[in-house]
């Protein structure tokens, strides 16, 4: 059954952009879970593509990533308030992060200043989280440094912090050393398993990328279930 679901997901990933998949997970059967799907933006590579020649990065995706989630999973983050360590982004607005637009190019991304910076989504209530799906920037092949995804019920992230992903191997951000691998940005985004964590706030860190020192977000989607 699981293999069938994965095959089904793989097939759906090859859809053309105008044949977008739904951004709300729908049950396809009555078993334990279903593959999480979302709207995948069109490919837009600006300028001369710069190949990232780092062999042990996670393999570059050619299809959307897949994750089996509970059947009552839905998108919780759409239009939810976003705050950040950089209150005045250089380009764009923090609200872009949850506005549903995942297109590349000018006008769709928010740019935060250099150095370790974070953005934080307030889901409004505690929820059981299934996944966090991130698009930093996908109109150029690049890898972001020191990506950390944390969830918590504490808005200040002082305690009860659960780290879902961390590739900050040298502890630049002071959140502890992470062993996850860096990855190249694509239009398919980065899908992170939230492991059914109970949390209201999602905080995402980064510290520049292989093209420049700035921090960017196009969209972040948080999936889960809430009462």
């Amino acid at each position: 059954m699981l293999i069938s679901l994965l095959l089904l997901t793989a097939c759906s990933d090859t859809k053309k952009p105008d044949n977008k998949s739904s951004d709300v997970a729908k049950p396809e059967n009555d078993s334990q879970g279903l593959p999480l799907t979302t709207e995948i933006p069109e490919e837009l590579l600006e300028g001369t593509p710069q190949p990232i020649k780092v062999a042990n990065l996670e393999p570059v995706l050619n299809t959307a990533p897949s994750l089996i989630v509970d059947k009552d999973t839905r998108l919780l983050s759409r239009n939810k308030p976003v705050s950040g360590s950089d209150d005045f982004p250089i380009i764009g607005d923090l609200s872009y992060i949850t506005d549903g637009d995942k297109e590349a190019g000018e006008g769709y991304f928010v740019e935060l200043i250099d150095g370790p910076q974070w953005v934080q989504i307030d889901l409004g209530q505690t929820a059981r989280l299934s996944a966090v799906w991130i698009w930093h920037y996908h109109s150029q092949k690049r890898a972001y440094h020191d990506v950390i995804v944390q969830v918590s019920n504490n808005a200040d992230f002082n305690d009860s912090v659960i780290t879902l992903f961390n590739n900050d191997y040298d502890n630049t951000s002071g959140q502890g050393k992470g062993t996850d691998q860096p990855y190249v940005e694509t239009r398919f985004g980065k899908l992170i398993d939230a492991r059914s964590s109970e949390a209201r706030y999602v905080r995402l860190w980064s510290c520049g990328n292989t093209s420049n020192d700035m921090n960017h977000y196009i969209e972040v989607e948080v999936f889960g279930s809430a009462e």
Partner: protein, 506 residues
């Protein structure tokens, strides 16, 4: 008296504006690859190993000679001691003197045009950006302007001291960068045009012996100056021969080939990135007005035509060469700034409306240039979207020394007999700057057989696959940005990586 005082206030204000733009957060931009190679050459001098000019890889010795003096005054006596501030201070000084250099033209063209030219030089984002970087072109621009002023005086006065001063200045130009010959060609072409315009009946046999003596003295002074500097004070005479061989032997790095229109697009074509509209076209417009204003005058007209022709010839010569970098435009653009000042030549003869329009354009230009200069040297100083940033170093690379120090402080590392570091690949600069605190660093173009024995291995992108194959079982791999779109892979021996993760885990 009041007018004179105001003039001096203007010069002082421009000096402080130029200093503020050039010195503010001077060390904030990470060291450029070319600065790091320059710093390594400088370290020969300050460590007392002597200066040996390398015709394949070096430019002229003069900037490192000045930097040596600054380093000694700062008490920095080795490659490890050198600070970025000290390294860059020489270029800043050259930039400030360049801003003041129109004083040399004030008697000829008037104080107001000289002040206007100084304002253009002080605020130009191109000049501000590269006056903050340890490269040769800042000095080339300064002595280019000084040479022009000296040659102009020599032409007017035809006296011996001015011939010697002109010769020394040309010799210094050679001792700064071999590309000075392009400027000599451009100036010779411009001078020829002026002779054709003003002296159509000039005959070479009419040249007086005194003129030939002055030319001889000029060439002699030039040769002696450049030879003295290339031979490290005549201690290494091979340097004199090598200074000529460099025109044949110099090896340019690949990847800088650009189309003919590159410089036009770079400096004049408006580009909107990171919230800023980048272009220096308004100063170019002022230069066009300067040419128009002086064109009818015989005395100043010669200067206007000369500067305009020299700019054009510089531009064509540099555009014809496939190898192009932004900083090569410093000297040609200096000509444009001087010409822009001439827009105010005899401004009293303009109507009130013309005067107001010109003043508006000038103030707008300077204001816009200051904004661009601040943006170019601020947050986006090393960002590829900043048109002045070229193959800039990532701020991420600055974290490398601290991380290695933390690794080497681990008990697992300190008990070892060696903690060798290898850098695999060719285009690794400015990595040596970041690794200068560590003794056992080796540089290899390709992986060697004992690669797995190194505690830490840095691999440039072209050597990733080869290093992956050799280090997959012995090392863990990490990622750092070295330059824009040039990530460097870092391999750390597995036992050290394990120990590293055990300290302060997530």
């Amino acid at each position: 008296m009041r007018r004179k005082s105001l003039t001096w206030v203007g010069w002082i204000a421009l000096f402080f504006l130029a200093a503020w733009l050039r010195l503010n957060n001077l060390e904030s931009t990470p060291i450029h690859a070319d600065e790091a190679t320059g710093a390594k050459i400088l370290s020969q001098r300050i460590e007392g190993t002597g200066y040996n000019f390398d015709p394949k890889h070096y430019h002229g010795p003069f900037p490192s000679l000045v930097a040596e003096s600054i380093a000694r005054l700062s008490g920095e006596t080795s490659w490890v001691d050198l600070s970025l501030f000290t390294l860059r201070l020489g270029s800043v000084i050259a930039g400030l003197l360049t801003v003041m250099s129109p004083l040399l033209w004030a008697k000829t063209v008037g104080v107001v045009p000289a002040l206007a030219a100084a304002a253009c030089l002080a605020s130009s984002p191109l000049l501000v950006y590269y006056n903050r970087i340890y490269i040769h072109e800042s000095w080339l621009l300064l002595f280019g302007i000084i040479t022009l002023a000296a040659l102009h005086r020599l032409y007017a006065r035809k006296n011996l001291p001015m011939a010697i001063i002109s010769g020394i200045s040309i010799g210094l130009l050679f001792a700064i960068k071999e590309s000075f010959v392009l400027s000599i060609l451009a100036w010779a072409g411009s001078a020829t045009l002026l002779l054709v315009i003003h002296r159509p009946k000039l005959r070479l046999h009419r040249l007086r012996p005194q003129s030939l003596t002055l030319v001889f003295l000029l060439v002699l002074a030039s040769f002696c100056t450049s030879s003295y500097l290339y031979s490290d004070g005549f201690r290494n005479l091979q340097g004199i021969i090598d200074s000529c061989k460099t025109y044949i032997d110099y090896e340019t790095a690949p990847g800088h080939e650009k189309k003919f229109s590159y410089y036009l697009h770079f400096l004049l074509w408006p580009k909107k990135t990171v919230g800023t509209l980048w272009t220096e076209i308004t100063v170019f417009a002022l230069a066009a007005i300067g040419l128009w204003r002086t064109g009818k005058e015989r005395k100043s007209g010669s200067i206007g035509i000369f500067l305009a022709t020299a700019t054009l010839l510089h531009w064509i010569l540099y555009s014809c060469i496939a190898y192009k970098t932004p900083w090569l435009m410093l000297l040609p653009w200096g000509h444009v700034c001087l010409l822009a000042g001439l827009a105010f030549y005899n401004y009293q003869t303009l109507s009130l409306t013309q005067r107001r329009s010109l003043l508006l354009l000038f103030i707008g230009s300077i204001g816009w240039q200051i904004v661009q200069s601040r943006e170019a040297t601020g947050t986006y100083a090393n960002d590829e979207r900043n048109p002045y940033a070229y193959v800039a170093t990532s701020r991420d690379a600055r974290k490398i020394p601290e991380w290695i120090q933390q690794i080497q402080a681990l008990p697992e590392a300190s008990i070892r007999q060696n903690n060798r570091i290898a850098v695999i690949g060719k285009q690794y600069w400015p990595l040596p700057w970041f690794l200068r605190d560590f003794r056992e660093v080796e540089y290899h173009p390709i992986p060697n057989k004992s690669l797995a024995d190194y505690s830490i291995v840095f691999a440039l992108p072209e050597q990733n696959t080869a290093c992956d194959a050799r280090l997959d079982k012995s090392h863990d791999k990490f990622l750092k940005s070295l330059r824009s779109n040039v990530p460097v892979s870092i391999y750390l021996q597995k036992d050290l990586a394990k120990a590293w993760y055990q300290t302060n885990p997530q």
